[in-house]
Symmetry: D2
Subunit: 341 residues, 4 copies
């Protein structure tokens, strides 16, 4: 139980490199044996920088390596489901970036293979490990606000992604809101029953031309009665805006943004401070380390992963329900999309 967990990383893009650094430098219980990327040079550079023994072009070199205990899947979304299946079949524990896939049937098939193989699967909903949102979660469980009544999630990006990315992103609900769908379920501890979407193109007409929207307010009705909203914009000029408020019978809790410093400046015109931490690599860095630590721990200690395959599936269902609500201009039940059981 006290031995290192040997790891292979599939994908050396932005998020793959991030996980590689954390596994190599910040998590002593992990040992990275190999990293692969369809662009071999990217894998090699990362391996060199972090003293990872092996770089590969083909991820099968990782899956076929008997010394590798766990794999970290950071490749493009369309490859996730298949890789999960292959990794599970190879007996590897799996950490997979969100979303699992856009095809619910493929998700279900992958989860079935995982279950049969009896390996761990953790999905990369890193925000659950953020100290602010973790504190909200704990406070709700400690009964600090009594019975939750209302939830508000504000989640606005500093700037929209390139239009080329928008076109293949799966749409705002599956690309951006999916994190907030997970946060909603995580905090409230109940499934959402019905979704109503008000959405629009307000930031950039090109996003609309690409068949997507950039601004939305989503109403969530939970099975336990809680009512929630998610507010998304692709462009907040003041930076990354990530706040949550939960109101209950005995109080209210609010997580505010994080800032690069605490300095307040009073001059002849105003009292001001610097803008919040910009975008997710700065804002959520602690949570990326913590989620990877949690995965390594659950492999070592043979524990249940804190974010399961089903936790990866439900937000995709929610994304489809949101899309249908937006298209049809009416509240849509998740059961119209798929069973949650």
């Amino acid at each position: 139980m006290n031995s290192e967990v040997t790891v292979g990383i599939i994908g050396a893009g932005r998020i793959g490199k991030l996980h590689a650094q954390h596994l190599a430098l910040r998590i002593p219980e992990a040992k990275v044996l190999a990293i692969s990327d369809i662009v071999l040079e990217a894998a090699q550079q990362c391996a060199d920088a972090l003293n990872i023994p092996k770089a590969a072009e083909d991820y099968h070199e990782i899956l076929d390596n008997p010394d590798v205990t766990a794999v970290i899947i950071c490749s493009s979304t369309d490859t996730h489901a298949q890789m999960i299946e292959e990794a599970a079949a190879a007996g590897k524990h799996i950490f997979c970036e969100k979303p699992i896939h856009f095809d619910l049937a493929l998700i279900d098939q992958a989860l079935a293979v995982v279950e049969k193989a009896d390996v761990k699967l953790q999905i990369g909903f890193n925000r659950r490990f953020d100290p602010n949102f973790k504190r909200l979660y704990d406070l709700i469980r400690e009964d600090a606000i009594g019975q939750p009544h209302l939830l508000h999630i504000i989640s606005r990006d500093p700037t929209p992604p390139p239009i080329a990315y928008v076109k293949v992103s799966g749409g705002i609900f599956l690309d951006m809101t999916i994190h907030d769908f997970d946060m909603a379920r995580y905090l409230i501890g109940s499934e959402v029953e019905e979704i109503y979407v008000a959405g629009a193109v307000m930031v950039d007409p090109a996003i609309g031309e690409a068949g997507d929207i950039d601004t939305t307010v989503i109403t969530l009705r939970f099975e336990n009665g809680v009512i929630g909203t998610i507010d998304n914009s692709r462009k907040a000029v003041y930076g990354y805006d990530q706040r949550v408020e939960v109101f209950g019978s005995a109080g209210m809790i609010q997580a505010a943004n994080n800032y690069p410093n605490t300095v307040l400046i009073s001059d002849a015109r105003r009292v001001h401070r610097d803008l919040p931490l910009n975008f997710f690599m700065d804002r959520y860095i602690e949570s990326y380390i913590a989620e990877m630590q949690a995965f390594i721990t659950c492999v070592r200690e043979d524990e249940m992963p804190p974010v399961t395959g089903m936790d990866g599936r439900v937000p995709v269902v929610m994304g489809y329900a949101a899309r249908k609500s937006y298209t049809e201009g009416r509240p849509v039940k998740l059961s119209e999309i798929a069973s949650l059981a």
Copy 2:
């Protein structure tokens, strides 16, 4: 133009007394000549305390008094429309507490009489005069946030009214949310086109038994494209919660709660401060004075009232649309209720 505005007050209940005090003590350009109440003793007490020359049981004594230039209608809601008509017919300028009435036909009839009589009519949406919300309004007009995209109004009472009141209140949308409907129109400067309501009984089952709800999140779609939410609860244990956030293409503005003091206490367990100002008499006192000052000024200077009869009518339409949305579980257009033109 520089003479005093002579005033008669109809109704010596909580809000009537408040207006009487402000008119008598805080607004030098007003002179209160009389106050009436169906309970004569209430009118007399108020008159004695404020050196008002005349107390009456019948409000016609005020309407028939040729020295009275303007009347302040603070009686029960069901009497508003008729009193407006009578006062207008008597050539008096009118300040009337919200809502004008629950019957749209009677509202329209009253507004027609006012228009024909060519007297001023101001409706008591005092929150427009609150320094926080006024600052939001001005910032939007000064283009501080560019084009508004999203609006959020949080409006939670510290404690529910008595069930007896709930039964005659017209329901949460016409009794409580009506202030927020007005605030939404005021800040955004556009009419709401469609309303979707998620609501529930979470605070007290007795409110449900009385045919009302106590918790609601309302989605507003404005004609100019803005999307908004209103969040109401009849019971916030930490006190009166009155916040607004407006997000736009060039920034965000947020009005926070007001507190009785600025003291921060750090002890061995936490950093804390006192609860916000409790309920509307404390929280909005400045706005009550300012709205009455504005009414007196508009009478003296022959200006347009800052909150018109139509401003009193539209929120009632919104209230009915909200109720219909809640009952039918779907978004409802205001045009299903009444024309806004």
Copy 3:
């Protein structure tokens, strides 16, 4: 005990008018019978505006009026001591603006006459009635921070007074710091034993040429062991800065500035808010009303004034000690200036 307190006001300058308004409009238990000013027109204007029956040039008309129970002395500082004596001799209760006088012997003489005449004397240290500082005071008495160890008072004006005023002001310690000396004694509930001053001319050389300083940090050593500082500047470009922090064995309490609204603005450059309330007429308006209410109540109820003549004397002693410390560059004991007993 329930009759009105009849009042005469001496001085119709800025502060005299302020007190007149509050007594006439905000404090029902007071009735202003007369106001005097060496400029009769000023008194007359104020009387007209507030329905005060009598305006006079000579304040003796007020002192000689047998219907006047209490006088409010708002004339220039050099006249305070003599007027106190005369008013006391005439059997009037007295509210006197700070400071009583710059001459300790004359102060002592005036206080002796007051004591002999057995009338009330309240000194105008209005900040004791400010909701923030009152809350600090109460928290200390409620043992919220245990035994106080350290006190910090920040007290900075938005802009220096005219040089002509500086020359007759008695110097920064007796003109500006005197309020902070009172606040220090009030909060800590112990006398200051020793004062050390670091001071300089940093804002305007003309203030130095007038024999005064404009910036100072003062160390206070209290008899009960508490150590305090007062930080004064004649010019804070961001506005009136009035904060206090008390640190103790069981916690810390801090009073922050007051703002005209709670609005926070996030734009592409910063998160900001409006500057604090500007200067004392805005910032301390509540405290002016409350101190006058307290005086009227103590006259009506025959209670001890909340700010006594001795409370007016000690800060003058502290001002002289501060001046001596600044001049001699060493800590100075108050006992070098005068006995506090």
Copy 4:
């Protein structure tokens, strides 16, 4: 220039282990070759955990190792000066924890050897690298507040050290305030000319019996006219309190405490948040990494260390001046202790 900097660490106590971790895991340009401690086991444990090739009992094994370019001195204070001399003589670049020594003559002798050997010497005043204080420093240089007038440093520990430690600590001024003396010089960019101390034993009589004090307010007069205060307590029950305020001709800047999360909790009694980050290992962790990164960079790039030997010497002089001021109850000039040139 692009090669790794090879490092040896002397001392494997709390701070030595911290630096070892950062050098081994967080700073890719450094390579730790050896660590020594008089308790060999401590060095060995640290070496094992971080894959450091060599653990030694005798630090001369590090100084004699020709492969070691730079040494990190984290041993007890009384050994610093001698080790600096030996390391400089061995041609090693040196990072040394503060303070250099308590004996000014030994400091001067060590600095002379360093100068002659022409090696880098950086002193461990890590707080200069804290994001909050760095932002203050930059804002002053960017002229955000014009000419600085006043400086306030609040620096309070959560709990006093053991009495055994107090006895050998050199006293509060050389042990605790020394960080604040450095911060004062760093921010204002001018030397302190004169110091006045008000101090007392308020936290624990045992500290007084050990010949030390636990609470102090220090007035600093800088050569450039700025007036500053430092406020120290050995025990703030609410945790580690580390704030700075600088007031100038064109504005004010304030650095507040850091918190473990941004969550605000409103319940039926108060609005509250968690206590600030507790003590220096949490609060200043970023600054420890940044200072070590800066040292490695200055060795690699042959740059001037950002905290020089003279920066290590002056705060010791200030500590002695403070002690003398406390003992003699008067302001003391630094020139009474030693020349700063």
